[in-house]
Symmetry: C2
Subunit: 315 residues, 2 copies
């Protein structure tokens, strides 16, 4: 019996795949070569999730892998209607990024509350200027996205004494439905976007919603860039409709050098790194191997994405 | 019966003292006028704790206030042998700064773990450069100073999943004695100075101790500048014996414009602001009034400083 063919979408080989020696024929491809190799693959590992090649190549001719795993929480970069209606199972890296991203959000919240960016500017200028800063205990956060990342953010912010509200696709115990979003955003000190990118969430943070926020409130996006109407956010921050924002994800990544987003006072720009703590690639590799063990044994896979919804449904 | 004379050491009147109308004769003084006015004061409120005028004026001639309250946690700026042996009661602002400073320390820990200062630099240059950052969960902190501020720091860091050790003047349940300090510092990822400035703690963080820390570890001082041998810290950070540091307090404050501390890569300098969140002056004023009510009624005061030790003894 021939071993399965594992196609890896990435120039760099992922760590830990050596242990599949004899258990898989491993092919590597970049985006340009994907369409040609897709028909021979039993399994596709989307290691470089910045590539949208799957979306483009999938609708082509020939057989398709039975299983696609992406080393990311979001699946927006690979989903297309043909994949969605197919029998192919799609799994994601659920779990790996939760705690790191929650810490990153806490770092941004505290950094903004304590005015650290201004402190660093003043330090560069050699200027001693005492300011009052904000206490985060007792402030209110609205976290949008009720998956494991959103829930980890809630836990971490709660531990800091912040009152949190979690908003998901539908209302259930401990989670608000979309109908509550406007009301919650209007009274939040922190609005945190942690939702998957789907047709429902695309552009959900727009001029109307930024206009509802308090002038003292701040917006953080660690989900996907397209959740946000970037021009509207630039206007809201520039005109001080809100007190500040931090974006780790963008409509176009890398953020182009000429993007106005780099230079907005009160807006922190980071290069899509919120979940990427030391050892993350190893963890992603280990997670894929655990799934591969199960797949090889014919057992059911965890982290299976609902391809219509575009994420792993919760409980 | 004449009302007591309350002498306030500060150019600006503290908030909320208006409610003492008819209950106290309020005099204001700057440092230069203190010696002259001290003999007529029943109570001295040290509102501007950056002034060391009390230390200088106290040993002079004439009667002395029966009660001195300082709107600060530390009393190092006012203590002198003559005050220490006198019958005058000294109280401090115990409690007001605990939670704000704990949040500030958490902000610094997370900022350094997530490499946010570098992110802000890269943003200024318009450069998208992904880096791996550090997870704080599972790291180890050694908090030096077992008063309410040190204990609040421990609680907040624990809430972030950080393993903490608290070091005090003597070993007791949940608190390590000084003998454990070297061992704890040697294995800590974060060393946090939150001790009062006393003869015992002066210069305790010196070249030897920085040399014991791990190269990946970072040092934070929110206590008093003189806890640290600043030249030794500059060398430790500059030569990468440790990974970084953040100082909110300094031997000389304001930090002089020509101080080398401003320009050390990996060293964050902030202007003694860790505890000063919006409303802090109001809180300090309210706290003093609460103490004044008790003093006026002849009741015992809380927050009484052990003048020999230089802080309010714990339980």
């Amino acid at each position: 019996m021939s071993v399965p063919t594992l196609l890896v979408l990435d120039a760099d080989p992922p760590p830990r795949l050596g242990s599949l020696t004899g258990r898989a024929r491993i092919l590597h491809t970049d985006g340009a070569g994907l369409a040609e190799r897709l028909p021979v693959a039993d399994v596709l590992l989307v290691w470089d999730f910045t590539l949208t090649a799957v979306r483009d190549a999938w609708p082509g001719e020939g057989p398709r892998p039975r299983w696609v795993h992406t080393a990311s929480a979001g699946v927006d970069h690979l989903m297309c209607p043909e994949l969605a209606v197919s029998d192919t199972v799609v799994t994601n890296a659920r779990g790996v990024f939760d705690q790191p991203i929650a810490e990153y959000v806490a770092a941004l919240v505290l950094t903004m509350a304590k005015d650290l960016p201004r402190t660093l500017e003043l330090q560069r200028e050699g200027v001693w200027r005492h300011r009052e800063s904000q206490r985060v205990t007792g402030t209110r956060a609205c976290v949008v996205g009720s998956g494991p990342i959103g829930r980890a953010i809630v836990s971490t912010l709660k531990a800091l004494g912040i009152t949190t509200a979690l908003v998901g696709r539908r209302s259930r115990t401990g989670i608000h439905g979309p109908d509550d979003l406007d009301r919650l955003m209007a009274r939040a000190d922190w609005v945190i976007a942690a939702a998957p990118l789907t047709a429902d969430t695309h552009g959900m943070f727009d001029a109307r919603r930024f206009g509802m926020m308090q002038p003292s409130a701040r917006f953080i996006n660690i989900g996907r860039g397209q959740l946000v109407v970037e021009d509207a956010l630039v206007e809201a921050v520039s005109k001080r409709w809100i007190a500040g924002a931090a974006l780790d994800v963008f409509d176009t990544e890398p953020l182009p050098p000429d993007s106005p987003l780099w230079q907005v006072p009160g807006l922190i720009v980071s290069p899509h790194m919120s979940g990427d703590t030391v050892g993350w690639r190893d963890e992603l590799g280990t997670q894929f191997l655990q799934l591969y063990d199960r797949w090889e044994a014919g057992r059911s896979l965890p982290n299976v994405v609902d391809k219509q919804r575009g994420y792993v449904p919760g409980h």
